[in-house]
Amino acid sequence: MNVLRLLTPSKASIERLAQRETDPRCAARFDPITIGPILSICALCALALLAILIAPLRILATAIRLRNRQRSDDI
């Protein structure tokens, strides 16, 4: 299985995100962030670094979730 695919968000978390993004009260929290190119690059690098650091935990959590689902399907 593609490792990057394992790291994409779960359906449940996407649904929660969609719920917030389509709530008018949260609209401003989803506007484009326009802080200039340098700060944007720094922010993106920070996000990427954070994603890399937590990736092993997320892969483990996904693997456990898939294994539990497989077990309940077998039952």
């Binding site: 994409t8 968000p9 008018p24 609209a27 484009p32 326009t34 340098i38 922010a43 996000l47 937590i54």
Partner: protein
């Protein structure tokens, strides 16, 4: 009394064929399934996207579907359909089955066919492209004009792409491009010489989007308001949908529209053609007859119906489909910078790339910015938690540049369709496999295009390949007869089914090649041409 013409399909081809025939004085019956979702479409406010985001508590109904697919975009069929457009593919897999491991087409039973959700790109084909497809260039150019005046096309006659995509003086002034596209064009102006030497030109695309309103009997359409809501609603009818033509024609007493039916077979008799219909709700059969029939159900389904009509099961027919890839880029000059909210949602720019390895053929690249499709759809693709992905999407939003690339297509033995018996009926089997040479050409195309966009300061982040069929450009399933290549089912030079006198093919099924540019304008022009032949043949007079 039976109609002069029966037209099968209400997509761009069927709608324009019907319009042409009515304008020539014929009586016309048009049949299709006609799926529609006026309820959700009418729920979309006629307001700018940013205002809707902040004010409409019901926005989730049309911005996001609870069943929104979470498969990777590379595997998704119809990834670009938003909830108000989901009706476009309603019941298509059930009623138009395709069995294939290598070909994933998008089909439609909607009122307006795939034109109910199209990107509205309207480039004309050049002479050599028309000739490769087997279409008579001088005639098609005349019908381009008719289509452009009828549906309203805006285009930039002064841009570098104009000589390759515009043949008519009847176009409206070009649509305004957004901040991101303006930035790219500014870089293009500086790099024009270098890019020209690479065979790359860019400009504003011809679009079936009104910059001036159209008003005539039975029709009112207004200029696009730049609300960036074009993926969701049909604000002011500014983007052409074939259903507008059907609605306009429905006011004409010589036009009859039968919907809720699926064509099963076509039988030609001495003086007429009889079409068997199946009611898509009850399953009951009925018949309708006309003097002549134009089959315009799309290349796949026109072939399906005609193969079934002739009981040609297991017979392989050719299949043409442009390969489509996406290049996801960030415009470095827009990173972290604000962009104006005033924009339309369609392609902002069109680039044409003619590298040496393509021997004169052009690769077409439509350039989109990203805003109203929501951050969540981007966050789905990032390999990080949803909240972090949404944050990354916000940072990238104003600089994100999506380049949709269509590659030229030619016939091959590994690309075919065939009708096979299946449970309770039949299904279209299909195979679509690119050989090593074609894959190599596509890789070279991508490398070349990426290089050109880097020169425009658009840094490629990701290449997204789509499954064969995802381009929604299909052709060549009942090709025009030629000395070199044969098929069991063919068409003659007047787009009549070979061996018949009264059955015409009004869509891209007869094409022998499929250029990379969007085919819909040419499909519509060709449909008018075919309609003029059918009417003339019925009247036994020369085509004016």
């Amino acid at each position: 009394m039976i109609s002069d013409l029966l037209i099968i399909g209400s997509g761009p081809a069927g709608a324009q064929a019907a319009k042409a025939a009515i304008d020539l004085g014929a009586t016309v019956t048009l049949v299709d399934c006609g799926a529609d979702d006026a309820l959700l479409r009418n729920a979309v406010p006629d307001e700018p996207f940013p205002k809707i985001r902040r004010t409409d508590p019901a926005q989730r109904n049309y911005f996001w579907s609870v069943n929104e697919a979470t498969e990777p975009v590379e595997d998704r069929r119809g990834a670009h359909l938003t909830p108000p457009r989901n009706f476009v593919t309603e019941r298509a897999e059930e009623l138009l089955p395709v069995t294939s491991d290598t070909f994933m087409p998008l089909q439609s039973l909607a009122l307006g066919g795939l034109g109910a959700a199209w990107g509205a790109g309207c480039p004309a084909f050049e002479r050599f492209e028309l000739e490769a497809a087997g279409l008579p260039a001088s005639e098609i150019h005349r019908y381009y004009d008719d289509v452009i005046r009828d549906i309203g096309v805006s285009a930039a006659r002064e841009d570098d792409t104009a000589p390759f995509v515009i043949t008519s003086d009847s176009v409206q002034r070009p649509a305004d491009i957004d901040t991101n596209a303006q930035c790219i064009m500014s870089n293009y102006s500086r790099m024009r010489g270098q890019l020209d030497r690479l065979g790359f030109v860019a400009g504003r695309p011809p679009l079936a989007l009104l910059t001036n309103g159209i008003q005539r009997d039975g029709l009112e359409r207004l200029a696009n308001p730049y609300f960036d809501m074009d993926f969701y609603g049909d604000s002011r009818r500014s983007i052409y949908r074939p259903r507008y033509t059907i609605e306009e024609l429905s006011k004409n007493p010589r036009f009859r529209y039968i919907n809720g039916v699926l064509v099963q077979t076509i039988r030609e008799h001495h003086n007429e053609v009889e079409v068997t219909l199946e009611d898509t709700t009850t399953g009951s059969a009925s018949h309708v007859s006309a003097r002549r029939v134009i089959v315009a159900a799309g290349a796949l389904n026109s072939a399906r119906v005609l193969l079934r009509s002739r009981a040609m099961y297991g017979v392989r027919q050719p299949l043409l489909c442009n390969t489509m890839t996406f290049l996801v880029c960030t415009n470095l000059d827009m990173l972290g910078r604000p962009a104006d909210d005033r924009r339309h949602s369609l392609a902002q720019l069109l680039a044409l790339y003619s590298p040496e390895h393509r021997g004169g053929e052009r690769i077409a690249a439509a350039v989109y910015s990203y805003r109203s499709l929501l951050n969540v759809r981007l966050a789905m693709e990032f390999p990080m938690p949803a909240r972090l992905g949404a944050l990354a999407a916000r940072l990238l939003s104003t600089s994100l540049t999506i380049v949709g690339i269509h590659h030229p297509e030619k016939r091959a033995n590994t690309k075919w369709i065939a009708l096979r018996s299946a449970d309770g009926g039949d299904a279209l089997a299909a195979e679509y496999v690119l050989d090593a040479d074609e894959r190599g050409l596509i890789q070279k195309d991508l490398s070349g295009i990426a290089r050109c966009f880097r020169k425009l300061r658009c840094l490629p982040l990701r290449v997204v390949t789509t499954p064969p069929g995802a381009s929604i450009h299909y052709a060549g399933t009942i090709p025009q007869e030629s000395a070199g290549e044969k098929a069991e089912l063919q068409a003659d030079a007047r787009a009549r089914l070979a061996g018949s006198r009264r059955i015409y093919l009004g869509d891209s099924a007869t094409w022998r090649a499929l250029p990379a540019k969007g085919p819909t304008l040419t499909i519509m022009a060709n449909a008018r041409r075919v309609a003029s032949y059918a009417v003339a043949d019925e009247r036994a007079v020369s085509v004016p």
